[in-house]
Symmetry: D2
Subunit: 120 residues, 4 copies
Amino acid sequence: MSTAPADTLTQLRDLTRAFAAERDWQQFHTPKNLAMALSVEVAELAEHFQWLPTGAPEELDERKREGIRHELADVLLYLVQLADRTDVDLRAAALEKLALNAEKYPVAQVRGDARKYDEY
Amino acid sequence: MSTAPADTLTQLRDLTRAFAAERDWQQFHTPKNLAMALSVEVAELAEHFQWLPTGAPEELDERKREGIRHELADVLLYLVQLADRTDVDLRAAALEKLALNAEKYPVAQVRGDARKYDEY
Amino acid sequence: MSTAPADTLTQLRDLTRAFAAERDWQQFHTPKNLAMALSVEVAELAEHFQWLPTGAPEELDERKREGIRHELADVLLYLVQLADRTDVDLRAAALEKLALNAEKYPVAQVRGDARKYDEY
Amino acid sequence: MSTAPADTLTQLRDLTRAFAAERDWQQFHTPKNLAMALSVEVAELAEHFQWLPTGAPEELDERKREGIRHELADVLLYLVQLADRTDVDLRAAALEKLALNAEKYPVAQVRGDARKYDEY
């Protein structure tokens, strides 16, 4: 009998599965629809930042921070559901991507080369 | 002395912090810029689904699945970084949101009411 | 003295310029902020479609159609403003792009090849 | 013998209709799919701005400006097609929206009130 707590991503996967099943909402949750829903939530998140001068943390007041927190949660919940419906292990995929990025952007080559950051 | 593995979200937060620090990239990672980057990655994810008839799982071939897997990873990595820069505990925020959603959409009221799904 | 009516895109450019100037809002309208605002409006548009089975026209009721109409207007208004701030002639750019697309997707090669539509 | 040039929006509607018809692509162009395609193009536009310090015009070099021009064109082309498929007169909708916005944000009330811009 395990005493280890479930990993958050696994726990959220199980909770969102149950949530949708209880409401008979799986029928709406095609990968395509979940991808659209995810992009809508991300835009609601971006909306909090759109008119800020630079978007640095000190420009965020309490009201914005609370809104951002809720939208971040929505994004994570749809992300977990989309990964579940497409049989993707989010943890493995993210660790693999980090390893790929480390190869793609070697420290020695990109460090301090701010000007060209988005050209890599 | 703990032997428990770190939770994935904590682990990814630490790894992305180190990744950005080694490259001196934190200067680009304002919350606003991370929110934009997140929305760009989500669109790259959505792109895989845009012309599918319904977007059901059986319409996804291997090539698409591999692309989707990589984009899901990118979305998670930026999400974790944005949460980190805005001091949001993603796990707590997601669990809280699920509880709020459970109240907002009571099973007895919404179950099987597909037609009005998006009007709640 | 011309009696020709102004082209819609020119007219909207002039009207949005005046609108922002009267309110002293040009200071917020950096190209970057307008690009974010545009993506937020597009997401509000996409939201109307996200849970539809296929998104065919007959799935759109009157309420949705009215919402879509307003969001399409918002998208056009931000698009015109972003083009204005980046000195892009939208008409010329669109006609040029159509010509490029015609070369890129020759009728003889792509017609009826639905299966591979998104791989071109 | 025509005496007035067609309005750009009408012209682009006719050209995109012919373009899709020649390639038998209307089958993919449900309003939902066009809305997704539009959001993907807008993200490709946003991508040019994502790491800029403030996104002011002077931060845009020639390479970026050319990319932005092409993406603005793509956005307009999908916007016109989506409006066409949902029977929306873009010109009328935009003029109506501007009138609504003028009422919603009276000059006397919002002018110079930069701090609260996004709270209206």
